[in-house]
Symmetry: C2
Subunit: 351 residues, 2 copies
Amino acid sequence: MNDPRPLRPKPTLRDIARLSGASTSTVSSVLSGTWQARRISEITAERIRSIAGAQGYSTNRQARGLRRGQSELAGLILPMHDNRFFAAITQSFEAEARARNLCPVVVSTLRDPREEIRTVERLISQAIDFLVIAGATDPAAIGALCRAGGVRHVYLDLPGHDAPSVVSDNRAGAALLTETILDRMESGTAGPRGRPYFLGGAPADAATARRIEGFREVVAARLGPVDPDQVIACGYAPSRARAEIAALRERLGGLPVALFVNAITVFEGVLTHIVTLPPAEIEGCVIGCYDHDPIASFLPFPVHMIRQNSEALVARAFELIDAEVDAPLLVEIAPDLVPPRSIHSTRFDLG
Amino acid sequence: MNDPRPLRPKPTLRDIARLSGASTSTVSSVLSGTWQARRISEITAERIRSIAGAQGYSTNRQARGLRRGQSELAGLILPMHDNRFFAAITQSFEAEARARNLCPVVVSTLRDPREEIRTVERLISQAIDFLVIAGATDPAAIGALCRAGGVRHVYLDLPGHDAPSVVSDNRAGAALLTETILDRMESGTAGPRGRPYFLGGAPADAATARRIEGFREVVAARLGPVDPDQVIACGYAPSRARAEIAALRERLGGLPVALFVNAITVFEGVLTHIVTLPPAEIEGCVIGCYDHDPIASFLPFPVHMIRQNSEALVARAFELIDAEVDAPLLVEIAPDLVPPRSIHSTRFDLG
DNA sequence: ATGAAAGCGCTAACAA
DNA sequence: TTGTTAGCGCTTTCAT
């Protein structure tokens, strides 16, 4: 039970050939499933299979890949793993990859442009069959690398310009969320506090930009012109969000009647602040979060959340890859609204 | 911008050799960083590098791996991605792999024994340099495969018997959590309701078993013998947990004074139930959760959580791999207690 | 119905 | 300081 390194080296095709008295080509076709095309007799095939099994043979995919000019590796790059959305993307990606008998290779780049480049170069060097690009700071640079390396690629939740993209319909999602919180907010509060605010994200980020569009659109239609200070795109850091919400509350003399929070990390920052406020003040504020966390459904005040349809996003991406689409088209997938299910709603909505 | 498939095939070492007038071995050593050992002149090296750069050359790692008998691929298998703990494991794993210039290959198996085997066979076939096994239903089978394939492996958060293991000290963690909730629970409630309960997990699971040990140990020391019905190992499904907590409450005529919840999914199930109860009843119950979710810190009642030290777990695993340890030793890493930071605690602890 | 042999792109002796 | 060459394990054309 406690031997050191590989006792016997792994058996190769040649070993199996020798052991079975067949040629390497016969063994190869039997073991790679092309034996019927070669009209190998069932009896030979069976003998070879059993010997291979007994020897613990398994195909060396580096060799196969080298010979066939592919790798059966499917690449995905994303910013990070500890995030529900990307975790769901990864899970779906794996399922789709496996269904095609590909090995998923998922790598995160922590939104570091240098790391993104290094990673993609590495994946290309690894001869991945295609790359799905989910969340990159410089999509164009990555696209260029793939192109140069002859690697088919698809952008996910991120619009690219040199290949197909599958993205959430952020504008529609934001509009939906905004409608929802406007419907629920107390009207009649005068002045700046009576207006909805948008918090978090980076305007340079395409997703944030589209969400701001959706927010503006709905607010403008229902409450008139949107003041620039109603949009606070302060990035994704909880600490920054905390500072911003505190400052906002200071300015307004209380929480606004409606708050559109652009990401779960921003929401976390907001939470650390509002948790210190008197419950009555929190109850005067309707919160919408453009991200989803099941636990947030149970907070003592209602949180309306948007959940991106990660499964559909990934499924469409694979369809494009299967169809060998290379043209830069854009597919949009509608996200879903997740209503609150909190103690608060129990007390006030159901109770 | 919109060309079809690989225009020019990727340049090879031979192409660069021809273009630079050098031999393939010279080019190889320059491009793989072994050129100083070969005493290649700086000028030749630089010329080759620039030509390679201009041609967009990148090493074909399948070929390199085949030749060198390795792959520079680091494997990790885990049950799933949409879980904070495993996501953190993945993130750390990537960092450690990258620091060693390895490409991380992380695959989830959804706790499906068939899938585990298939995945490991696949990874071995891919010639991964080593495998980290985090959460498998049949560790022994996986170990056997690795052994047969000559692949070094380390178990993570899971005790294996044919290779080194790095695990959370679940017993100590559970004991700590139990101490904490016993300290906070209301004493003096008579009968079964006055006792702490353990909910969730699978007794066959080593982690659950150790946690039950820790729980029993502390409860026994402080409150006397533990009744078998105080341990409800009902698996991980939220729906099942919901049913179990509802049934328990029915039996006891209220929530118990202390509840040890064995996983975040179980906690979710518990939440869906207790959220329907009057707030006063919830306040009589101290909850400890052996898992961590930052949002849960903000629930309207205190939740004491245990956070496993995923970074340390992974770091130790890589140390063992670096040191080429193959013997089945066991390393335990202490987890951390995360105190509540809820509105509830604000009101009652700080206010 | 099966075998022989070339070669995928790279590395590492060994030669010079 | 550099070049020649064998061969990693596999697939696939061409023969038979």
